[in-house]
Subunit: 248 residues, 2 copies
Amino acid sequence: MSQQRHGSTPGEPDGVPAFPDLPEATIARLPEYLRALHHLAETGAETVSSEGLAAAAGVNSAKLRKDLSHLGSYGTRGVGYDVALLVAQIGSILGLDKNRAVCLVGVGNLGHALAGYAGFASRGFRVVALFDADAKKVGEVINGLVVQHIDDLQRVAVEESIAIGVIATPPGTAQPVADALVAAGVTSILNFAPGVLSVPANVDVRKVDLAIELQILSFHEHRKASLTALPGGRSAPAENSDQEVVGS
Amino acid sequence: MSQQRHGSTPGEPDGVPAFPDLPEATIARLPEYLRALHHLAETGAETVSSEGLAAAAGVNSAKLRKDLSHLGSYGTRGVGYDVALLVAQIGSILGLDKNRAVCLVGVGNLGHALAGYAGFASRGFRVVALFDADAKKVGEVINGLVVQHIDDLQRVAVEESIAIGVIATPPGTAQPVADALVAAGVTSILNFAPGVLSVPANVDVRKVDLAIELQILSFHEHRKASLTALPGGRSAPAENSDQEVVGS
DNA sequence: CGCGATTTGTGCACGCCTTCACAAGCGCCT
DNA sequence: AGGCGCTTGTGAAGGCGTGCACAAATCGCG
């Protein structure tokens, strides 16, 4: 601290700088903090200690304090953090106050579910368009949105100024869809299709592969099975304590 | 190398030890390697170089070699890796040859899609049971499986020896469901509900939060927007090259 | 007004992971 | 048989992230 850090950066109209050098690991945890803070706010809490918020978010309290210190000094020593202030700050840093428009490509099994997922709207995202390559799906209404043909992607993306695209197509068509999204000006992609996408350097891609998650669990299952096979009896597990989350 | 490393560990009936000390980061990448290898095998490739496989999996070739070296010496210098052998080895290490039984709790929007997700069955997992607390959902048939009431979880889990459970319920019921899974003997949980689960130390939990992924993308979108606002004109992006995946 | 209790913010050390660079090994060609 | 090119496997260095432990700061109370 000793630095105020509250002023705005030149070129940034609103009061919060963009934090270009925030550690990636911290960024990945901010949404979790935000969720925990919202939950605390609903219970009427005015302030939280780092210990309390850390427990609610499932992390170490030292890590939480270090993460928040990167955003500036928003706590009061001896008291804790102001819940409402922190909610506003983190939301602003994540750019959630922009109410970002998102489009979804591929309304198959998974895409259908994503189109109706309530968790998106409740956290600052608006799904504004659905696309599919299958003519039989075009025209279908899902959650109040009409499925459009993928050929209309470019036009709609520009009209609605969509910057984030979600790919929920079969693996084979993921790459051409990504190319189309990039051509339409999308600069962030969330990909649910297995496989590696090739995109320009200025486009960010995050991948979610449901089968990979299960395979990682399977490995640990395999490991646990071979451990309990030999050593000095460990049938009854330790008492219920805190969470053990594997991997990242 | 210089060590053979191919023999089995005492207590491990089959030929592949459980690799208790495999780095977590390596484990998380093995499924991606496996997918790339399957793809290569379909195209008829007999062997792959680390460079080629790394490209197909979207990672650095040095990282790939170090990862594979942890599994033993399965490559031939001057030639590359035997695709079929590597597929078998990684599959075995991940425990995918066990054809693991998985149960899914919560057949709402997302759970419905997961129940029909083809990617599970094609990669060594069998969804053998669906549960829900809503009496109106019980009895419904999804993808050939009948939705059962959550109260039957314990009985069914034991009958089918289910070790992996997937939670796709609303946030509020995730913790009781996790408790029920643990009580039924499940030792690995894949959680799609936002929030922190508390489980015994011997149970592994992996979390997938779709909204968090979008929020991370939103941050980078925010950052990019404030960067292009000021500096020496960067409107046209760099040429299409390799992927830039943000975060982990 | 001063003091003690409490909690933040951070310097520091440790460990994990990544990346480079190269020696060791293998196959092929002559 | 020998040499040459190619590729693996790995030692070492650097960077990042985590967690401890403590100084600095704030509040409340006597």
